[in-house]
């Protein structure tokens, strides 16, 4: 499982404050803590309240790069903000994200090709959030076709079925899980990711819902997730799920063994 740490996000008060005050230490600590807990990449999001995201994004990228060369997942719905981040980035980048809208694909896919990045394609368009699996697959196919046409190699694309809160869209959960498996039918090389914490948005048992969904999604073939790697119960559940799927060889200390990787 490719783990993208979600904690560098202006949505959180400490990060919002650190961005505002240009407090590098707070950001760098957050980066290193997540890596120590198993993050393979770090999501970078200025947050909805950022007044100057085009300045904040490159500052965040530069600040994080001072302490790690891990892949950065530039998270913004604004392609201009992402491009500022791309210009500052020295290491691998994931663009997070594009929707299935043609005009959006026409901007983000060429950026991914030009900067040789990975790209997360979310199965959503201006028509709104998909209400079933077929609609998700339809949009996934549109994203895949567009990337092929524009020359983005298939292994650089992650499809995200858009996870909805269980307390809002309970009836859709099974469709979301099925989509994870069925995206692979479009092309076996396609990889999948989810923004995990959405599933528990507004619920009381957030951590339990997160880890239960993740465990199930792993069984459906999920390749990656944006999550809180500092939630050790979540990470333990993930490692155990992969163990049960025979992705790693069992030993009594398998949790330690996984972390030694």
């Amino acid at each position: 499982m490719f783990i993208i740490g979600e904690l560098i996000n202006g949505m959180y008060a400490n990060i919002r404050e650190a961005i505002k005050e240009r407090d590098k230490k707070e950001i760098q600590k957050c980066a290193l803590d997540q890596i120590a807990c198993g993050a393979d990449a770090l999501d970078v999001n200025c947050g909805p309240l950022s007044k100057k995201p085009r300045e904040d994004m490159p500052w965040l990228v530069e600040t994080i790069q001072e302490v790690t060369d891990k892949i950065l997942c530039l998270d913004s719905s604004n392609a201009g903000v992402i491009e500022e981040g791309l210009k500052a980035a020295k290491n691998g980048v994931i663009i997070n994200s594009t929707t299935a809208d043609k005009e959006k694909l026409d901007i983000t896919v060429p950026l991914a090709v030009q900067y040789k990045t990975w790209l997360i394609g979310i199965t959503i368009d201006k028509g709104g959030i998909p209400q079933n699996k077929d609609r998700r697959l339809e949009m996934a196919a549109a994203i895949v076709a567009d990337c092929q046409e524009k020359g983005l190699p298939e292994e650089r694309l992650y499809l995200d079925p858009i996870v909805l809160p269980v307390n809002v869209a309970q009836a859709q959960m099974k469709d979301i899980l099925d989509s994870i498996a069925e995206f692979k039918l479009i092309s076996p090389g396609i990889r999948t990711t989810v923004g995990l914490s959405n599933v528990s948005q507004g619920s009381r048992q957030r951590n339990l819902i997160n880890r239960t969904f993740l465990t199930m999604a792993v069984a459906y073939g999920l390749d990656s997730a944006i999550l809180d790697p500092k939630d050790s119960a979540l990470m333990d559940a993930l490692i155990t799920a992969e163990l049960i799927l025979n992705k790693n060889i069992y030993c009594d200390s398998y949790l330690d063994a996984y972390r030694k990787k």
């Binding site: 790693n248 060889i249 069992y250 030993c251 063994a257 030694k260 990787k261």
Partner: protein
């Protein structure tokens, strides 16, 4: 129609382990032996780097061998009566570049030699031969925990390979090997889960994973060879897929297992064949060190390795 060659891509690799220290590294060996380092399954040269070929270690004891068939012992003439002469014969006459000393004489049933006696033997052996050493205990845990620290100290800085640590008995040996700059053999009973667990336990003591060699335990031809093969293959695939806790090279005690077979005891030639087939098969499984007994079998397997890996070295 041209058929595309499908090659596997691996993200991990086997650790490279060096045995023996020359003068510049604080030891007194004239050569060192490097094993492991593969980034591909055995012999699939196109899929990844295979920097080192399997090596043969000649097995010698600190006492004349007791349960070896007559034909096996006599292949060394009268030399085994004096283990130091036996050791020198392996190096001089048979071109051994690595010796595996089994301290059988320390076993309570085989002479019960004291730790001091064993340590003195190791010191003498280091003086008489200049090749790197593998040193393994008698198999009696309680006694080995007394003998191995003394022998480890006697060979300090020679970067030997010491064995065999097991899940039930690893701490004493690991602590000694760590203190005296040796590498360690981690033995598991044809069980990949225990192999992995033991590597973690040993590394938790501060041992670098790249100083561990796995003894997966093998069976000879007809005695579980295919089980050993499967275990080694599974471990190697995990290593190549990035599992560092299984990324250690393998040592296989092919001589010991082959000569236990009743077929091997059925005639000298048959025993030699048994050892050759067992060792050759385990090369396919990924063996990095083959501990062998009969010089003729060692010679044949060395020739086989030369064919498989190309080129030729005059020494084993």
């Amino acid at each position: 129609m041209e058929i595309e060659e499908i090659l596997e891509k691996w993200s991990g690799g086997v650790y490279s382990v060096s045995i023996g220290a020359c003068a510049e590294d604080g030891g007194s060996r004239k050569n060192t032996v490097r094993i492991g380092g593969q980034k591909s399954l055995p012999l699939l040269f196109k899929e990844g780097d295979i920097p080192n070929r399997p090596v043969i270690a000649f097995e010698i004891w600190d006492i004349p061998p007791q349960d070896w068939p007559e034909g096996l012992v006599s292949s060394y003439g009268k030399a085994p009566e004096d283990p130091l002469i036996w050791a020198q014969m392996c190096v001089k006459d048979f071109g051994a570049r690595l010796l595996c000393l089994r301290l059988q004489g320390a076993h309570p049933d085989c002479g019960d030699k004291s730790p001091e006696e064993c340590a003195r033997f190791v010191s003498s052996l280091l003086e008489k031969v200049s090749v790197p050493l593998i040193i393994i205990g008698s198999g009696d845990d309680a006694k080995d925990n007394l003998v191995m620290p003394a022998c480890s100290e006697a060979a300090k800085s020679e970067r030997c390979l010491l064995g065999c640590a097991t899940q039930e008995n690893y701490k004493t040996l690991a602590a000694s090997a760590l203190a005296d700059g040796h590498s360690i053999i981690a033995e598991s009973p044809i069980d990949i889960n225990i192999a992995k667990q033991l590597n973690i336990l040993i590394s938790d003591m501060g041992f670098a994973l790249d100083r561990i060699v796995i003894n997966p335990t093998i069976g000879a031809l007809g005695y579980g060879l295919e089980y050993a093969y499967s275990i080694m293959e599974r471990g190697r695939i995990a290593a190549l897929s990035g599992d560092k806790t299984l990324s250690s090279p393998f040592i296989c005690f092919t001589g010991q297992e082959s000569w236990k077979a009743k077929e091997a005891k059925g005639g000298d030639k048959q025993g030699v064949i048994w050892e050759i087939i067992t060792a050759s098969s385990l090369i396919q499984a990924g063996a990095d060190i083959l501990v062998m007994r009969h010089p003729e079998a060692a010679k044949r397997v060395f020739g086989h390795i030369s064919v498989l890996f190309g080129g030729n070295n005059s020494d084993h």
